[in-house]
């Protein structure tokens, strides 16, 4: 372990010294004020007309209720609190079914679907979730009940975000597949219409489904007609896999990447799965390269920091930018799961690149330390390096492929040229959602 600068657990390490299998030793965690990432409340709200009901302790309820309140959706969320007594008096299941029944009886409009979230303590107590759902279905015919999980303690088994990304399709029922329908699943926002991904799908006459397009519950149900489900962010994999298991719909995972070869390969897989000819992408490749060159001509050797909330593959993006001449000096991430190639390339070619932990306790006062002016890609990078020049995106910003790289390059240039109101932007929860703070 790196013991430099007198820290017992330093918050940074050069990539030269970093081990991809464990970049930082775990420990207590700090929570930086960069709120753009979505949580399970935001994701659940993607299901049109759904009503969310959370059963958990007051401390856990607080965050989810106010998430809904801030996104102006308090009327779509109700709750059942769990006391210490409830945990041990044998009424755990009954409290939930009685509570849900009461809430539904009080709602002005009967929802077509209820997302029922249980928490760590329920799972730890061995609650019979299936029995709860069964009872609720009997009491409330015509309402779909979907089991959802607010279980951060179990995050190393299945992350709540990944599980939620799968559960939002839980109310779908099998429909005869339509060969000309495909869906993108597991995302919290629609994919950029200019991406080659969407272009290939649409130009070949396919109907594209995405939960982000759905305005009504009936539209949502149509998604089950898809004959191919595509996922491209890591937390979307489970959604595709589970739909494949439930309905036999083929799942194609083509991870969002910042490596030109991987992108090309992804499009080969896509076209093969669609049964269409792969288009000539040389213009898209050329435009992505030109956009990077153009951004570089403006940004020059200004240090760049990339964080893991902005893009799902921060080391790949760092490698791409370094290869194009950018001065990437910092990456904020605590793992590099699917990016071993980029990680090793950076180790070899940019060994002084510093990796910072996003949660280490010593990052608390890092923003107040003197920093050189940097261009930040992502909210956490902006916060930690106190930079108002930042690209304000999360989870790739809905961009994909070569057009995604081109658009990111444009955003970098804009961020370099025009500082943003960092504090005002970073405090908004769930980027892209409505907010009462605006």
């Amino acid at each position: 372990m790196n013991k430099e600068k007198g820290f017992d657990r330093p918050p940074y390490i050069t990539i030269r010294d970093a081990d991809i299998n464990g970049i930082f030793q775990g420990g207590l965690e700090y929570n930086p004020p960069a709120r753009g990432m979505w949580n399970i409340v935001h994701t659940g709200m993607l299901v049109p007309e759904a009503h969310e009901i959370f059963a958990c302790a007051q401390g856990c309820l607080r965050g989810v209720i106010l998430t809904a309140a801030e996104m102006l959706a308090l009327d779509r969320l109700s709750w059942i609190s769990v006391s210490e007594q409830d945990m041990f008096d044998g009424t755990l299941e009954q409290d939930i079914t009685d509570g849900v029944d009461e809430i539904l009886s009080k709602l002005k409009k009967r929802p077509p679907v209820v997302l029922l979230y249980l928490s760590c303590i329920h799972l730890f107590a061995g609650v019979d979730f299936e029995a709860i759902l069964q009872t609720l279905r009997e009491h409330n015919p015509g309402i779909y009940f979907v089991d959802c999980y607010m279980t951060p303690t179990m995050r190393t088994t299945v992350s709540p975000v990944m599980k939620m990304s799968a559960q939002i399709y839980g109310a779908l029922n099998p429909l005869p597949p339509d060969k000309k329908c495909v869906a993108i699943v597991g995302n919290d926002r629609a994919t950029d219409e200019d991406s080659e991904l969407v272009r290939i799908i649409r130009q070949n006459g396919f109907t594209l489904f995405d939960i982000a397009y759905c305005k009504t519950f009936d539209e949502y149900l149509e998604m089950a007609k898809s004959s191919l489900n595509i996922s491209y962010i890591p937390t979307g994999v489970l959604a595709g896999d589970e739909l494949e298991k439930r309905f036999g719909i083929r799942h194609l995972h083509i991870p969002a990447s910042y490596d030109f070869n991987t992108i090309e390969y992804n499009y080969s897989l896509l076209c093969q799965a669609l049964g269409v000819e792969k288009p000539d992408l040389s213009k898209d490749i050329s435009e992505a390269s030109s956009a990077l060159d153009d951004a570089l001509s403006v940004i020059g050797d200004t240090p760049v920091a990339v964080d893991y909330t902005a893009v799902t593959r921060p080391f790949e993006l760092a490698a791409l930018l370094c290869k194009h001449g950018f001065n990437v000096k910092y990456v904020i991430a605590d793992s590099a799961g699917g990016e071993s190639e980029a990680f090793e390339w950076l180790k070899e070619n940019v060994p002084e690149l510093m990796i910072y932990s996003p949660v280490n306790v010593n990052m608390l006062t890092f923003p107040e330390k003197p920093h050189e002016s940097i261009l930040a890609i992502g909210q956490k990078a902006a916060h930690y390096f106190s930079s108002d020049n930042f690209v304000n995106i999360i989870v790739n910003g809905g961009y994909y492929g070569f057009s995604g790289i081109k658009k990111l390059a444009v955003l970098m240039k804009k961020a370099y040229l025009a500082p943003k109101d960092r504090k005002a932007l970073l405090r908004l929860k769930g980027m892209g959602c409505a907010s009462c703070l605006i």
Partner: protein, 371 residues
């Protein structure tokens, strides 16, 4: 059902109360929790988080550590963080999962203290109770630990129970100003705008002013240990503020003039709601009362209504049918049709949602509030 809410939020939980109470005292607070407690607290329960740093962390508890009872990791990680952060003291507190596994926080705190050499307190929170209970335990712990016998400061006042969960940022300055204008000297404002050094001087005060129920245990300790009387009340409205100042001088408890058939009901933290209701009666002759929606001592609540869940609050409002309710704007969802709402945002209830409209109610014109 008591534990069900169709639409109104719940109040901040006990863990947030601990963190908020200790935020400015240069300690380190660790919530033994997987993830949610810290992000909820930092986002929704702590308006100082963006501008003022404080060593407040979570233990990042995992399923395996919970199942295996791996308290050693929690202890080790806390001791390691203490080496790096060098806090003046430490506090460990629990969330729902440690409640399930029966973590012995007293033993954990003792072990951390032994290994780190830094005074460490155990808080007995579990995420199922209100912030009042958490903050109350935290305030009492630091006062018990750090207050020492000192020569009295003439007209010295300890202000107890002050957190941004109940008071707009800057209210500490307003209270100090009001105390000064009335010939008092502020000894400490536990715990906004103050430091651990002031806590050490707490016993020098001649009287304590308890501005929320979270300050009661600390006040009772100072009364029992140092014979410092305490008065409960928030100086709001000119007439009531004067009455409160007189009570502080005399060391006599305040009687709240409460109506059982009120035209105006004030919903919120008990001492604050009672003070506003009393102020309306004393200054404007309005029949008023309070609905205490949070835990409070019976001696304080004397005559006020109590209701702590959506169903009961809704039923009480329906039964009393007041002309006006002064409450957080989110109570609008359960008001009787003809009742007027005067919005008084409460951070411990609606968090950041109405932060722009938060009011500093210290020694202000009560007529303005009811407009």
């Amino acid at each position: 059902m008591k534990n069900v809410s169709r639409i109104i939020p719940c109040y901040a939980a006990d863990t947030s109360g601990v963190c908020s109470a200790l935020y400015e005292l240069s300690g380190m607070t660790v919530v033994h929790d997987a993830s949610g407690c810290n992000s909820t607290y930092a986002t929704h329960d702590e308006p100082r988080w963006e501008d003022k740093r404080s060593d407040i962390y979570i233990s990042a508890l995992t399923e395996m550590d919970a199942i295996m009872g791996n308290d050693e990791k929690f202890i080790n990680d806390t001791v390691s963080a203490a080496k790096d952060r060098k806090p003046l003291f430490m506090t460990v507190c629990g969330s729902p999962m440690p409640m399930m596994t029966g973590v012995d926080f007293d033993a954990v705190a003792e072990e951390i203290e032994k290994r780190s050499g830094i005074r460490t307190f155990a808080m007995h929170t579990n995420g199922t109770r209100s912030y009042i209970e958490g903050a109350d335990e935290a305030f009492a712990a630091v006062v018990r630990e750090y207050a020492r016998p000192l020569e009295k400061i003439k007209n010295g006042v300890d202000v107890l129970g002050l957190t941004p969960l109940d008071f707009k940022l800057g209210s500490d300055v307003s209270i100090k100003k009001w105390l000064c204008e009335n010939g008092f000297e502020t000894v400490m404002t536990l715990a906004m705008g103050d430091t651990l050094e002031s806590v050490k001087k707490a016993a020098a005060a001649e009287v304590s002013l308890v501005v929320s129920a979270a300050g009661l245990s600390a006040a009772k300790y100072l009364k029992n240990e140092y014979d410092i009387p305490y008065i409960c009340g928030v100086p709001t409205g000119r007439a009531f503020s004067r009455k409160l100042a007189d009570a502080l001088k005399n060391g006599e408890k305040i009687a709240y003039p409460l109506s059982q058939t009120p035209d105006v009901l004030v919903i919120g933290e008990s001492i604050q709601a009672l003070s506003i209701a009393s102020s309306l009666t004393e200054e404007l002759g309005i029949s008023a009362n309070a609905v205490c929606t949070l835990p409070c001592d019976e001696e304080i609540r004397n005559g006020a209504f109590k209701a702590d869940c959506e169903e009961d609050i809704e039923a009480l409002l329906s039964e009393l049918s007041p002309e006006t309710v002064i409450a957080d704007p989110f109570y609008k969802y359960i008001l009787p049709e003809d009742t007027r709402l005067v919005a008084l945002p409460h951070f411990a209830f609606s968090g950041r949602c109405f932060e722009r409209d938060l009011k500093d109610i210290i020694n202000t014109d009560i007529g303005e509030l009811i407009k």
